[in-house]
């Protein structure tokens, strides 16, 4: 097997697991209220800044051992991003619950612009960065060259998969998860059974934001740099992943993320890295034409 193929597989899985984490937010929100939350990419962007802030604050207080620093930052980022998710839903989407389908979509685009500009004004337009936290690399010899897997990438893949596993467990086996699924499958019936569906919708936004926060922190650890516009492209990519997997389907989002990440990395490695975005979005167009329900989604059946 070719060395570059293996190397790009590793890169692809790293990127793909992060796409998957962000795609969860798109797919769950779509599943429960049928809207695309275009501000979701920017929630991810905010979490990158929060990661930097968390790292800076904890380091300032002298917490420098890797596990505590990472855990502290992780908790801080997830909690604050969750609050962002909750607030965004309250301000921008809840008041539009009973209006036309287009209204919350436009509101989402507005929210996206607000977040970008708010971060640009408050944090500056220049690129920000964090130092590398996890040094080290594993090398495998393949043929004449070698393939490298940095500890950071390994960490990203493992943490992402654990995050997805925990979420899947919550959705499948807990009361909260059942309430989310019930609200998704039949919101009116869920309310008749005593579920406060508005609250469940808020929970879904918080869950999506927390997953985006995890992604934001992991990507920041890998690339080290970000700016106020960082959420746009990755947000659209994650949306592509959600559509690829079948929008509304949770396992679909995770699978779609991994497939898109690997496909994109392979294209970049084997064909042309300048056109990798073109490739990803062409994939989105093809899916929408030939399999609009995605890999694991259900075809839309109109209720009579």
């Amino acid at each position: 097997m070719d060395g570059i193929f293996l190397q790009q597989l590793i890169n692809g899985l790293t990127l793909g697991s992060v796409y998957g984490l962000i795609a969860i937010g798109y797919t769950m929100v779509y599943g429960i209220i049928g809207m695309i939350n275009f501000a979701h990419g920017d929630v991810y962007m905010v979490s990158a800044y929060l990661t930097a802030i968390g790292l800076a604050v904890l380091t300032f207080f002298g917490l420098e051992s890797f596990p505590f620093l990472i855990l502290g930052t992780l908790i801080f980022t997830i909690v604050v991003t969750g609050v962002y998710g909750w607030t965004i839903e309250r301000i921008a989407y809840k008041p539009l619950r009973n209006s036309t389908r287009l209204a919350p979509l436009i509101s989402a685009i507005g929210m996206s612009l607000i977040l970008q500009n708010y971060v640009q004004v408050s944090q500056g337009a220049r690129q920000q960065g964090v130092p590398t936290l996890l040094e080290g690399v594993i090398k495998f010899h393949v043929g004449t060259g070698y393939v490298q897997l940095t500890y950071t990438k390994l960490f990203i893949i493992i943490v992402s998969l654990v995050g997805m596993g925990v979420l899947t467990y919550i959705i499948q086996n807990t009361k909260l998860g059942r309430m989310c699924r019930a609200t998704q499958q039949d919101r009116k019936m869920a309310s008749i059974l005593g579920i406060n569906t508005d609250r469940v919708i808020s929970y879904v936004f918080v869950i999506g934001a927390c997953m985006a926060a995890l992604a934001g922190m992991l990507i920041t650890m890998n690339y080290g740099t970000f700016d106020f516009y960082a959420g746009f492209i990755i947000g659209i990519k994650a949306f592509t992943a959600a559509v690829l997997g079948g929008i509304g389907s949770l396992p679909g989002a995770m699978l779609g993320g991994l497939i898109l990440g690997v496909a994109e990395a392979q294209f970049a490695g084997l064909v042309n890295s300048d056109f990798k975005d073109v490739f990803s979005f062409s994939l989105l167009v093809l899916i929408l034409i030939f399999r609009p329900q995605g890999l694991m989604g259900k075809p839309h059946v109109a209720k009579v």
Partner: protein
């Protein structure tokens, strides 16, 4: 015995410009089985759903156990002891039978869940055979049983049933009504909406007849069964 648990006072409901319920007055006493019969589109399901505020009454008031619930949220109503097996059953298609039953325990928590689930399986043995099967794969009759069982899981003070016999084979209808009769004997308060007037009225202490959004007639089950007009309109002469 004869304290009304639910009371409609001059309730109006509108869908845009169309008035679906016109000054509806009715009451259900504790421990009673009351049925509401009427043709398709008479407003029966609207009446049941208006108890949960979907749609909300545009006039009059709905009083439950002395509380005015006209403006309350659906989950408030459900949390206070009213459960409904709705029109079209509305079981959660992608959930198993067990999960669907668990959804019924939201108002009271899961502390009685195991015990109550066993009771449901005794009441509807078919559900036991299907306990891990997804609801969408079951027959209409099984889904209906599940919808009723799910409603019972919240140990309701008032059980609302919307057309439990619709579209089912006669033998299944017979089984479901036999089960309802057992439930009624245990002292459960049941409000039953039906087009199948024959079955419904035989089961009921009292009944109401609804025509075009208005209550046209009321009486005991026996009185209505013997009424000429009811016989011609809803019992097809048999």
């Amino acid at each position: 015995m004869s304290k009304p648990i639910l009371e409609f006072k001059d309730v109006d409901v509108f869908y845009g410009p169309i008035q679906a319920l016109k000054k509806v007055n009715l009451h259900i006493n504790e421990g009673e089985t009351v049925s509401l019969i009427g043709a398709n589109g008479a407003g029966k399901s609207t009446l049941l759903m208006s108890i949960f505020g979907q749609p909300r009454a545009g006039g009059g008031s709905i009083v439950y156990n002395g509380i005015d619930i006209t403006q309350k949220s659906s989950h408030f109503v459900a949390s206070n002891g009213i459960a409904q097996s709705p029109e079209g059953r509305r079981v959660f298609p992608d959930m198993s039978v067990e999960e669907n039953l668990l959804m019924g325990t939201i108002p009271i928590g899961a502390k009685h869940a195991d015990e109550d689930m066993q009771r449901m399986f005794e009441l509807f043995p078919r559900l036991l055979e299907r306990r891990n099967q997804r609801a969408m794969t079951m027959s209409g009759g099984e889904q209906q049983m599940l919808a009723i069982a799910r409603a019972l899981m919240s140990r309701p003070k008032l059980l609302l049933l919307d057309e439990p016999s619709l579209g089912l084979a006669p033998i299944v209808v017979k089984h479901i009504f036999a089960t309802l009769k057992e439930l009624a004997k245990t002292g459960m308060t049941i409000f039953l909406v039906e087009q199948n007037a024959n079955h419904a009225l035989r089961l009921s202490d009292r009944g109401y007849v609804m025509v075009n959004g208005e209550i046209r007639m009321t009486g005991t089950g026996q009185e209505l069964l013997g009424n000429e007009e009811v016989r011609n309109a809803y019992l097809g002469g048999h």
